[in-house]
Symmetry: C2
Subunit: 383 residues, 2 copies
């Protein structure tokens, strides 16, 4: 087992256990609420049973980054890391549930999306009213519950951390959650904007599209998936909030997160559905304004743009149309340019790690090695 595998396995086990306990505590506390509490908590447990715990692992690596080698594994699998990881996973579950309501998603982590689960239960019980509306309502409330439960779990984790680190850790967590809501709105809003019309300056329109896409990537995904978990963990591990170390770690996290999301966007068009678990072309059908799309818009001709227009936000685009759009994105050089962008961000992340080591932030050699592994894992992945 490589070191990063060992780290991931320790963290995942502790976080899984803490999540199970959190759910069990609520079953106990709400036992007088009848089947309603069980319905919510069963749905939460099923959703939280899945997931790669990526944010929890990142946070634990950062929280334990200055622990000496004798203590490192105890910290990685200890109560502070487990609680913080559980808080991040509960928050992530909350965001996914609301995101799925917004996108009308069918499945999540191989299960029916929460709103569909509740709608199915409504129909199965022959309840009154509209099953779909009920499903959405229940999912909104389950998301709200998990967002607040994340706050409660964070509180339990903070109790395990030095007094002086708590306020900064909590503030970073709340700021993360605010930024994700803003980022999701940016995303929803951008998808609603009409495409530039054919008379426009396409290079300029494409660059504006690229900038808007990057703003969404940064706020909805990159910082949230990588930067914030690292920073929150590091703050709770005692890293000074405004020093050189925090600045470098933020840079590392944001760059890794952007590369990760761009790779994800590329897989959304060119990925093998058998490996990614999502149908090819769904991002195009949803009309997602990705950096990849923006690069294509700058490079292709009127014919190519017409092909792209035909599939974008067209939920009924057929596989041949999707394949034609993917071919355009490839042939105009957008895919290659996108690959370069990913490499640039990954390289920026590696340079930030070098700078972090030089900054003498007190990182252990194991933490440094884990961070290097994480950069590779998140930016090179093919599924």
């Amino acid at each position: 087992m490589t070191q990063i595998d060992r780290t991931m396995s320790l963290v995942r086990r502790a976080v899984d256990e803490r999540i199970s306990q959190a759910i069990a505590e609520r079953r106990d506390e709400w036992s007088d609420a009848g089947p309603a509490a069980a319905e919510l908590l069963d749905a939460a447990a099923d959703l939280l049973g899945g997931g790669k715990r990526m944010r929890a692992v990142l946070a634990a690596i950062a929280l334990s980054a200055t622990a000496d080698s004798a203590r490192r594994e105890d910290v990685l699998s200890g109560r502070a890391c487990a609680g913080l990881g559980a808080a991040l996973e509960l928050y992530q579950a909350s965001a996914l549930i609301h995101d799925d309501v917004i996108d009308g998603a069918l499945t999540r982590r191989g299960l029916p999306a929460a709103h569909r689960r509740f709608a199915t239960a409504h129909r199965g019980s022959h309840w009154l009213g509209d099953a779909e509306a009920h499903g959405r309502s229940a999912a909104i409330l389950l998301g709200d519950l998990l967002l607040s439960a994340a706050g409660s779990e964070l509180g339990a984790a903070l109790a395990q951390c030095p007094q002086g680190t708590r306020a900064a850790g909590r503030a970073a967590f709340d700021a993360m959650a605010e930024e994700v809501a803003l980022g999701q709105y940016l995303d929803v809003r951008t998808e609603s904007l009409p495409l530039p019309d054919e008379g426009a300056d396409h290079a300029a329109a494409g660059r504006a599209m690229e900038e808007a896409a990057l703003a969404v990537v940064r706020r909805k995904s990159a910082r949230y998936s990588v930067m914030h978990p690292l920073l929150i963990g590091a703050l709770l591990g005692g890293l000074p909030p405004h020093g050189e170390g925090a600045r470098r770690l933020a840079e590392l996290g944001e760059a890794t997160g952007i590369a990760f999301q761009l790779r994800d966007d590329e897989l959304g068009v060119f990925g093998d559905p058998a490996r990614t678990g999502k149908p090819a072309g769904d991002d195009l059908r949803e009309g997602k304004r990705t950096v990849l799309l923006a690069l294509a818009w700058q490079r292709c001709d009127a014919g190519g743009r017409a092909i792209l227009r035909r599939v974008l936000a067209n939920t009924r685009a057929d596989p041949a149309e999707i394949a034609a759009a993917a071919a355009i994105i490839e042939e105009c050089g957008a895919r290659a340019a996108h690959e370069e962008r990913i490499d640039e961000h990954a390289e920026r992340a590696r340079r930030a790690l070098e700078a972090l080591i030089t900054a003498e932030a007190g990182l252990s050699r194991s933490a440094t090695a884990d961070l290097a592994s994480v950069i590779s894992l998140l930016t090179d992945r093919s599924a």
Copy 2:
């Protein structure tokens, strides 16, 4: 000006100012997010411009309850009370926005509900996709944003409170938000359940309905509207979390909150629309399973139940049908029995206040007087 009026005026002014600052800080911080941030924050500012600040006032009375008379007004209008009040108001705005999506409400605080505001903007800008779905999505995200912003504001308030009180105050806030989500789900779920069929034991069915209605009142409304604000404020003011004082204050808060909500339910059927601001009978049309309805179910005959069945969850019930249902509720004695319930809870609240004084929790005379005023204001109101 009476003392409670003076208290309310001091708190409201400080909280209003803090809310304005919180919004202004976010405008600044997100100035690079283009019009999207402004769209969210404008909607938040308009919604937060309304509201009676009831929870903020309760929290401030409790937070300042042991301050001596020389300091009391400074505490009431100081940064801890203002921050806690702002956090409670932001949280309330978040819950209202999600509640309005769930109920498909048209207006809130005299303005279009948030989801309708965003749908109207979508149509006005000729954006792509379904305006109603966009409105709902944006409102879900604005609610999420305000829920997390409430957490951030609470953090700022906690920084003004003694170190030793912070964790308990935060835990109580997070537990409140979790309980409200559960309570809202209980409410949504209860409205979906079929009414007992005509062959059932109506007294037993009515009692079960009453118990279910009280569980919703307690979790969705009573504790949240009154008990939790009082307790969170008191904890931050230094009240020991597990002592006699906290127990009595919780009792006072829960009983006042139940009486408040039962009065609200009564006004939902018998209130004067010109004074309550809501159309008479809307609770019946929505199929809300209130204690009042449960009391009627236990008392009326098959003919009466048939009239009730006709309007419950029937969004097209006409004014004559609504009037007939209201008449049944009155004539069978349910309204009078409901009035007795309200009096019992109000009386329980007053006894808890007596016990709180006897418990020597260190309450100032001004705090005692304000609490007595609050019990009257919240349980006697007619609009």
